[in-house]
């Protein structure tokens, strides 16, 4: 993907904001749920996931959120669905490295590359990471690191 083309990246964010993927409440087949509400006054989202045999078979989210939170979480659900825990963890780490403006290969992040400059608006970093933090916690929880 050409990250020098802001039009393309903007298009990705707008598309995921206006037509978010996997945006609906979870149900009984999801064995994990995290409510992210305390990070800021505003964004209030829930993320559900199904993790079986070290594999993420489903992710969805719902709630009230700004463009950046919505689009970044929507992209996350598409990127991580079907991945192994190990792959997901690597991608999440890579995403956080990108947000921290570290020099990493962005190619594996696919559409999430759209957020490579989010650090320019420092007060919005939490929006771009809310869903990713939720997924990180879910993975830790699935491995019993969280009680």
């Amino acid at each position: 993907m050409d990250i020098t083309d802001p039009m393309l990246l903007r298009q990705i964010i707008m598309d995921h904001y206006q037509y978010p993927r996997n945006k609906h409440a979870g149900d009984a087949h999801h064995n994990h749920m995290i409510h992210m509400a305390s990070e800021s006054c505003i964004d209030d989202i829930k993320v559900w996931a199904t993790i079986e045999n070290d594999k993420i078979t489903d992710i969805c989210f719902d709630g009230v959120a700004c463009t950046i939170s919505t689009a970044s979480t929507s992209i996350l659900t598409e990127l991580l669905k079907g991945k192994s825990i190990e792959e997901a963890r690597t991608l999440i780490d890579r995403y956080f490295d990108m947000i921290d403006l570290k020099n990493v290969d962005l190619e594996p992040l696919e559409e999430a590359i759209a957020f490579y400059q989010v650090g320019k608006q420092a007060n919005r970093i939490k929006c771009a990471t809310i869903g990713w933090n939720a997924m990180k916690q879910i993975i830790e929880e699935s491995e019993g690191k969280h009680d």
């Binding site: 903007r10 505003i42 463009t67």
Partner: protein
């Protein structure tokens, strides 16, 4: 004569400061306000020339700073038309409101007593009372707000009854900026034998306050919202109420004597509420701030803010893409949304143009159910804002689009 350009010269933050490379326009005065040079100098002077503790030392320096500290209490008292002994210096409005809810509420409320408030209150005036209700078994009730979010005397009368022991509310709310009819409400509350607590955090900085004329029982406010330092504020209380209520904290400065058996003799109010070394420089700066705004005059401040608000409203009220939640409020708080743009996204764009506004639910979470939106944008004006700043703001609001909001990230 009110001369805004002259006033602006007194504020370092208004002289050459930029944000995102643009001249800073500060429209978040409901959150905190800028400080004039005299306040800054007063704070610094305590550290460079006057450092000593208050009420503790038998030497000139301590005596002088203690005098300055008490002079500040007198200035605060005069500003709201109270007696100095009725003014407790606190760390701010939140501390003052907590002190009442704890020291009076938790002490005197009984199971079944009613705490009456509104859905437009700031968290600092509601959570301490939730706690008091939980501890004492008192019940929380809300005065229904009118369709436009305003608190009317009719609704208040209808909500009042003999079980109500305390009415607690802001005389100007921080989201919608309506001015409550406090004097009339106090009279009615007293007829039912209830006390009335006023959260003056947004009121005191913007309209003339007279606790004696209004006959309110408590009033809380912060210095930092009226050009003073952070970390200081005041609680006014009628003296008998201050005598009856418990301090929130005990310690040095609040007791007259104590013994090894645990007997404590507290000082009289207001000192019994002021344990520990206070923010002395901030208290001195509080006085400087009140002196500063008093010299401008609360009537002038009120009139000018009203003029600014009218000027702003006249330009945005007909914009199709703007929803205004408080078109009729009299104060400098304008709460709105841009249609189809999440408040925080719009606020980020406004920020990118050098303008500071607040997006969110403004610590008044339950009000948002009533407005049927989870968040809004708030622009809040003060006497140092100008029509030129408003023109620029209006221009930004006129041109805002979702695409522009997203483009900030590239």
């Amino acid at each position: 004569m009110f001369d805004v350009n002259k006033i602006r010269q007194d504020f370092p933050m208004l002289n050459g400061k930029t944000m995102q490379g643009k001249p800073l326009i500060y429209f978040d005065n409901a959150a905190t306000t800028f400080k004039p040079q005299t306040v800054i100098d007063t704070v610094v002077k305590y550290y460079t020339e006057q450092t000593a503790n208050v009420h503790r030392g038998d030497y000139d320096l301590s005596y002088q700073v203690s005098e300055g500290y008490e002079a500040a209490r007198e200035t605060v008292a005069r500003f709201i038309n109270a007696q100095p002994r009725e003014v407790v210096l606190t760390s701010g409005a939140s501390a003052a409101l907590n002190l009442v809810a704890y020291g009076w509420g938790q002490k005197f409320l009984k199971p079944g007593d009613v705490i009456l408030s509104t859905e437009a209150e700031h968290a600092s005036n509601i959570l301490p009372w939730f706690k008091a209700a939980e501890v004492t078994g008192a019940i929380f009730e809300y005065i229904p707000l009118a369709q436009n979010g305003e608190l009317t005397l009719e609704n208040f009368k209808a909500a009042m009854h003999s079980k109500v022991k305390v009415v607690t509310l802001a005389n100007i709310t921080n989201v919608l900026g309506y001015v409550a009819p406090i004097k009339e409400m106090a009279k009615i509350a007293h007829e039912y034998g209830a006390i009335i607590v006023v959260d003056g955090a947004q009121g005191v900085p913007h309209i003339a306050t007279d606790v004696e004329d209004w006959d309110v029982d408590y009033l809380a406010f912060s210095a930092h919202k009226l050009c003073g330092p952070t970390g200081v504020g005041a609680l006014y209380g009628k003296y008998e109420l201050l005598q009856q209520m418990d301090p929130f904290m005990l310690g040095g400065g609040s007791n007259a004597r104590f013994d090894i058996c645990g007997n404590i003799l507290l000082k009289n109010p207001p000192y019994k509420f002021e344990a520990g070394t206070p923010a002395i420089e901030a208290v001195l700066g509080f006085k400087a701030a009140i002196d500063y705004i008093s010299a401008i005059g609360m009537e002038n401040i009120m009139a000018y803010e009203h003029e600014l608000r009218k000027y702003l409203m006249s330009q945005i009220k007909d914009m199709e893409h703007i929803t205004i939640y408080n078109p009729e409020a009299a104060t400098g708080i304008i709460t709105f949304n841009v249609k189809d743009i999440f408040a925080q996204d719009a606020a980020s764009y406004i920020n990118s143009q050098g303008i500071a506004v607040r997006a969110g639910n403004h610590c008044a979470k339950i009000l948002m159910d009533m407005l049927q939106t989870s968040e809004t944008i708030r622009a809040s004006l003060y006497f140092y804002n100008t029509k030129e700043e408003i023109d620029h703001f209006v221009q930004v609001i006129r041109e805002i689009t979702l695409e522009k909001c997203v483009d900030l990230f590239f």
